[in-house]
């Protein structure tokens, strides 16, 4: 009953929205050029640019309704296509300000969506130019550092007199008491690990920071079993300086029990958001 109501309510409301004209935005590029990138867009849409002065928005024309689907394969294809278009523009014009998936400008006024995009470029021109300047000649790289939990705990126990003593004591205790001691030992190890993780973060961060123009600290994520992600960074790096960053990461990667993931180059998604 409820579902029926919802359904009829939706069908009554939706048509008015569907008709509206929209422009899907992929990125803003560093060129005041009117160009077509052919039908490389989402669902084979024709991608073209809307220029204002020496920048342009890379868009396709579509109904002003967000892309949404429960079909994950389709949604994945959309996201991949979004990225491909941004990459194509990035390659062609050298510098882009990428937008996240599913950003659209609508044509609510008589002027229409095309005009609204132009007006938006005009209005935000200074800000967009500044952002463009900030990322020109640079790319984003992902850096993730992991450590081997068991190896680290083992090393800590071996090098700490306090922990070693406790470990020896456990061997002499009757089972019940030994259990409590082991709990205590584990807590101590955990605390030591946290301290060590803090130290490593600071150390690695300052080493990586030297080779990047800007660094954005991201949330750490779940790692493979037995490993923990210590740091997750997005780094804005000059295109000719990434080898130096790579060398620094080699140094970290060589440390026993540490592993580094180095990804990119990405369009500067993490460095264009806020003004």
């Amino acid at each position: 009953m409820l579902l029926d109501m919802q359904h009829s309510a939706q069908t009554a409301v939706v048509p008015a929205i569907v008709k509206e004209d929209g422009r899907y935005l992929y990125c803003v590029a560093d060129a005041g050029e009117e160009a077509s990138l052919d039908a490389i867009g989402i669902d084979g849409s024709e991608v073209y640019t809307i220029p204002y002065k020496e920048i342009c928005a890379v868009v396709h024309s579509c109904p002003a309704e967000p892309y949404r689907s429960d079909d994950q394969k389709l949604a994945a294809a959309w996201v991949m296509t979004h990225q491909k278009v941004v990459d194509t523009a990035w390659q062609r014009w050298g510098t882009v300000l990428p937008l996240s998936f599913d950003t659209m400008i609508k044509g609510e006024t008589k002027a229409g969506a095309q005009r609204n995009v132009e007006d938006w470029l005009k209005q935000e021109y200074e800000k967009l130019k500044n952002k463009m300047m900030k990322v020109r000649g640079k790319a984003e790289y992902g850096v993730q550092v992991f450590w081997d939990l068991r190896l680290m705990a083992q090393n800590l126990t071996e090098t700490s007199p306090e922990l070693r003593k406790l470990e020896e004591e456990i061997k002499t205790k009757p089972p019940g008491l030994a259990y409590m001691y082991r709990q205590k030992l584990e807590n101590l190890i955990r605390r030591e690990m946290e301290t060590k993780a803090d130290q490593c973060f600071k150390d690695f961060y300052s080493r990586i920071r030297k080779h990047a123009d800007e660094v954005c600290v991201e949330k750490t994520k779940k790692a493979e079993p037995g490993w923990q992600m210590l740091m997750n960074l997005s780094c804005l790096v000059c295109k000719d300086k990434y080898t130096e960053l790579g060398e620094e990461l080699d140094n970290i990667n060589r440390l026993e029990g540490f592993s580094v993931r180095f990804t990119g180059p990405w369009p500067p998604y993490s460095f264009v958001g806020s003004a």
């Binding site: 409820l2 579902l3 109501m5 919802q6 309510a9 939706q10 009554a12 409301v13 929209g22 935005l25 803003v28 002003a64 309704e65 967000p66 892309y67 949404r68 689907s69 429960d70 994950q72 949604a75 994945a76 996201v79 990225q83 300000l97 990428p98 937008l99 996240s100 998936f101 599913d102 950003t103 659209m104 400008i105 609508k106 044509g107 609510e108 609204n116 007006d119 938006w120 209005q123 952002k131 984003e140 790289y141 992902g142 991201e218 997005s234 990434y242 790579g246 990461l249 990667n253 580094v260 180095f262 990804t263 180059p265 990405w266 369009p267 998604y269 993490s270 264009v272 958001g273 806020s274």
Partner: protein
């Protein structure tokens, strides 16, 4: 060390960027995508799962995990109470 952009191994890195980041437009001509994070959440779960599957070959695990995540997501998103709220809002907007 050379950076990688291999499409399988860096799928999640790509999604983190394409779905969560990028230039923010502050204007009322932007289309509201309030209902859309659904796509991001589902997609990330599906693709992260795919990556795990490729890594460990755990097809069954993948399928079950995604299903339970999806169900959980739908449960929170579309509880009977919220469905009713949506239905009534829509009804009100028609009548009003």
């Amino acid at each position: 060390m050379e950076p990688t952009r291999n499409s399988h191994a860096t799928l999640v890195d790509l999604l983190d960027r394409v779905l969560d980041k990028g230039l923010v437009i502050q204007a009322d001509i932007i289309i509201s995508v309030a209902g859309v994070p659904l796509i991001g959440v589902n997609l990330r779960a599906a693709l992260a799962g795919m990556e795990t599957m490729l890594q460990y070959g755990l097809m069954k695990d993948w399928d079950e995990r995604i299903r339970s995540q999806e169900t959980e997501h739908r449960r929170t998103l579309m509880s009977p109470a919220s469905r009713e709220a949506i239905a009534q809002t829509n009804l009100a907007s028609i009548q009003g």
